[in-house]
């Protein structure tokens, strides 16, 4: 847990004084990721650097695991927090293994334990220890270096991670990948994380809570959903962007909006004639065809007209498969791309578990919006 209590930082004095953070108060709960978000110069890095005392606090206090950081030994404080800097900062004169070993060595771990830990961490960040252990940072791509930076911060298994734009230096494709991997990792590790970002998409994806800053002041501290659906000020709504409803779609999963008991479903052994009648009676435009809870495809009225035989022989396959765990944004994108009003949703073992449609997506957004209005 990290508690910021009226934290103020003033650089310089007199006329040239700059207030980098201004009476900032909020708490990052144990096991949660708080993303510090805001425009350049709003004090995100400064707040992070005060947390491990790389900058002093002008007024106010910071408590880590309940203890005032000023009462702790500064080396001890830092050894207990993994630190990832924006510029990656791997030591070029040390191998990858040497870089990861820095903190364990300071903690006087024995050599075997350190070596094992290095390999374990390299595997965690998806770098083959055999290949990368003895390489130097210059021999790695930016993305690989960033992975090593994360591994180095995790080396001694600290409870707290301070990360300053840790994935800033990589191209978008790799960034998404490393973000996904980090999320999976965090789901197991449950670290308390202070994460600086200036990218709203990254914040929405990584955060349990987002802290939005403006000119050194904390303007909102809330879950991503609430920040998106009920921004506290014009500044926040401008910052999250006019497309915030679309961003919510990136946050919500198919399972949050899907129809679990769809009626426009038919078993493959029915005849085309029966299916057509079923559609006309219920005014369905298309049916999803199943056999043994597997999705075979879909049929439309036009397809079935003048046809005989069983529907399973007449199906058209769905161009994409959607699972319950995918973001709604991807589902919507699939619908737009393929001009289909609804898609079947598969569970983890590939079985049919419901459908997702425009109407259900819209309903879930409106629900979320009204929830956040009255809480």
């Amino acid at each position: 847990m990290i508690e910021y209590d009226s934290v103020t930082k003033i650089f310089g004095a007199g006329k040239t004084a700059v207030t980098a953070t201004d009476s900032v108060t909020f708490t990052i709960e144990a096991g949660e990721t708080a993303v510090f978000l805001g425009p350049s110069g709003c004090g995100k890095t400064t707040l992070l650097r005060m947390t491990n005392r790389l900058e002093s606090v002008t007024r106010g206090s910071i408590r880590v695991q309940g203890r005032d950081i000023m009462e702790m030994n500064v080396q001890q404080l830092r050894l207990g927090m993994g630190y990832v800097i924006q510029q990656i900062g791997l030591f070029p004169n040390k191998t990858i293994a040497g870089n990861i070993a820095v903190v364990p060595r300071m903690l006087k771990w024995d050599k075997r334990r350190i070596d094992e830990r290095i390999d374990e961490l390299l595997r965690i960040v998806k770098l083959d220890p055999e290949i990368y252990r003895n390489r130097y940072p210059v021999e790695l791509s930016g993305g690989q270096q960033q992975r090593v930076g994360v591994a180095r911060a995790l080396a001694a298994d600290p409870d707290i991670l301070l990360m300053d734009e840790p994935f800033g230096a990589i191209d978008p494709i790799n960034r998404h990948q490393i973000q996904d991997e980090f999320l999976k990792l965090q789901a197991q590790l449950k670290k308390t994380i202070a994460f600086v970002s200036h990218d709203i998409h990254e914040a929405i994806k990584m955060a349990d809570k987002i802290a939005i800053f403006k000119d050194g002041k904390l303007v909102q501290f809330d879950t991503p959903e609430i920040i998106l659906m009920r921004p506290a000020s014009k500044f926040v709504s401008d910052f999250v962007g006019a497309d915030r409803a679309l961003k919510v779609l990136g946050l919500l999963k198919v399972r949050d909006a899907m129809n679990r008991e769809p009626r426009n479903v038919i078993q493959g052994e029915f005849t085309a004639e029966e299916a057509l009648r079923f559609m006309e009676d219920n005014n369905f435009r298309h049916l999803i065809v199943l056999r043994e809870n597997r999705v075979l495809g879909f049929v439309t009225r036009r397809q079935l007209k003048y046809e005989q035989g069983r529907v399973e022989e007449l199906v058209e396959k769905f161009p994409e498969e959607l699972t319950a765990r995918e973001p709604l944004r991807d589902a919507l994108s699939a619908m737009l791309m393929h001009d289909l009003m609804s898609f079947p949703v598969l569970d983890d073992s590939g079985g049919f578990s419901g459908t997702i449609s425009y109407r259900y997506i819209q309903k879930s957004i409106l629900e979320l919006y009204s929830e956040s209005q009255d809480d």
Partner: protein, 216 residues
Amino acid sequence: MSLWVFLQDNLSMALFLTWEHLWMVGLSLLIAIVTGVPLGILITKNRKLAQKVIGGANVIMTIPSIALFGLMLPLLAVFGHGLGKVPAIIALVLYSELPIIRNTYIAIKNVDPALVDAGRGMGMTKWQLLREVEIPLAIPVIIAGLRTAAVMIIGIAAIAAYVGAGGLGVFIQQGIARSHEAMVLAGALGVSLLAIVVDLGMGFLERRLTPRGVKA
């Protein structure tokens, strides 16, 4: 060829003077390293001090060597060392300081501040940071400074023969006095050869001691 004949006749003398030259230079460099490198590191913590120290070393550099020997003579004469190896070595040390201090200072200052930040943020002490990161990264530039100093003082040491320090300068000095061309040539070529060999050797050292991950 008269140079060849001269060398054949005076081989043991030539070898002795070369050896004498080398150890004067070597000892001076050693003293300059153990004083200059720590001083160069120390002044990275204080800009004002750095300006003074480097400025001072710069002033020494501008004094012509023959004048420096002249200036030291009355001072050292008090201790009975106005002539000989002592003033020579003191002068060589003083001349070496500037490239060594300056290069050390610049090399440490030029270490990427992000690395210092990362190290401190991970809990490294100043000393750990210096030993594990800053010095290893500064090594190539420090050695480049040594190389400059070495080549320079090999030349200056030749002039030290005028204060009776010995070394290859003896051939040059006596050769001129006696108008013995081959002798002057032997001294001059010897000093030049020494400078070239030492330069190559230090270049090799520079490459060897550059941390692998830092090589371009």
